[in-house]
Symmetry: C2
Amino acid sequence: MTDASAPAPSQVRLSLASAVRPSADGSFDAEASAEWTIAGRPSGGYLLAIMGRAAAAITEPAQVVACSAHFLRSPSTGPVEVRTEVLRRGRSVSQVRVGMSQGGRACVEALMTTSILSGDDVARFDGGVPVLQPVPFQDGTRLAPMSPDGFRVPMLDQVDMRLDPECSGVTQGKPTGRGRLSGWIELLGEEGFDPVSLLYAVDAFPPATIDTSVLSWAPTVELTAYIRAVPAPGPVRILTRARLVSAEWVDETCDVWDVTGRLVAQASQLAKVPSG
Amino acid sequence: MTDASAPAPSQVRLSLASAVRPSADGSFDAEASAEWTIAGRPSGGYLLAIMGRAAAAITEPAQVVACSAHFLRSPSTGPVEVRTEVLRRGRSVSQVRVGMSQGGRACVEALMTTSILSGDDVARFDGGVPVLQPVPFQDGTRLAPMSPDGFRVPMLDQVDMRLDPECSGVTQGKPTGRGRLSGWIELLGEEGFDPVSLLYAVDAFPPATIDTSVLSWAPTVELTAYIRAVPAPGPVRILTRARLVSAEWVDETCDVWDVTGRLVAQASQLAKVPSG
């Protein structure tokens, strides 16, 4: 199969693809776009961006600073409903329950804390933040929207996702064995990321387990993200690391920096290793 | 003030202090014990242990493997209500919403994933797990239940909590500046920890920020824990690390190993730096 047989990709910017429309009583309608999918299913982080827009809207002018999500079942592309309930509305911090469902079936449940992220909230201690070697965006290997065997990943037409040279061997099935992937993500057609679209960024990279020799992919059960700052315009720098892979469960972390080198998001996720 | 003026501590084991009694419709009654407090308020991790018992009971025979909690307000000691709702009941994995309230006011909201933790789920990759130098339990400095100025921390009469020599300077106000605390926790009067009481362990240590020079304490807004294995009997080894402290938010991680050196729990938390 060649590229010529595939439909020309249409550009659907994340800010539009994650938009929510208020319906009633703290509920919102949204549309899970077919252009933000992998293997026919919407990216998990993309779903969190939709849910994050609803949480931010209901606690306006706040932004999501903490998001803890449990994935029950993957929705299909198409209409989804997002229901919010403000659990506590505080002067500087609010807490919201957010659920995404489709056709009356619960798909993703989350708790989100929102607050106002000020631009001048500088780091006073960062001794626990991983150090990532600088690699220019243009030196990365872009993940192709179309694999050599004709398998199209629509999401990769919407972003320019690049692996650093030191880990790009995974694209040829050559892991380093360290369980670490680093690189860049740029949102095509957008100036950059905002705090909510960082919820997409923390789950966008391939799983760090593909850089081990023991596991390729496992479905995410839980994902927690902390948004630490409003990112500067431009692409973001990503580091994902597998921590512990057992026969049944695997966890990995993701750290995200903006182009100025500021840490803007941190996340961890737990996934269930497929049995048999 | 001397020890003689304080009431003799009574031993209330964590397994009893975190017990839940089914009331109706997935709800449970519990009692937040005055013996598991710091500064008059129940320890956050202790509250999660109560909530975890309810989640495990409603999805029996499962154990909590992932817990994401948002803290709305601290309950007083005394009766609390725990309400559970099973969001998805699967063959091997279930997902539960768990809320703790007191007098009708929501205190802690959580989402928990439960499953059966098998004892033979060995690590296939652990390249992302921090390495902690071995320090024998008896070499640690025990945190005293009564501070020199007569301030009693009831929880420290229920556990033997010890800091490794390399970081025990924090007890004399001498941080290393690295933002790392390591040591041990033993539950007095119990054989050891079970998966649910590990939810207490991940939040029991003093905040790692006291080993920096920029911040002492901040109230936890979000805490996520992954329980990776059933711990062997005995005390557990703890490592907490501050990651990024900004003017408004701080996050830290906690890793827990059992006496055999097996990683049994991992957690991260986000806290709001007090303003002014």
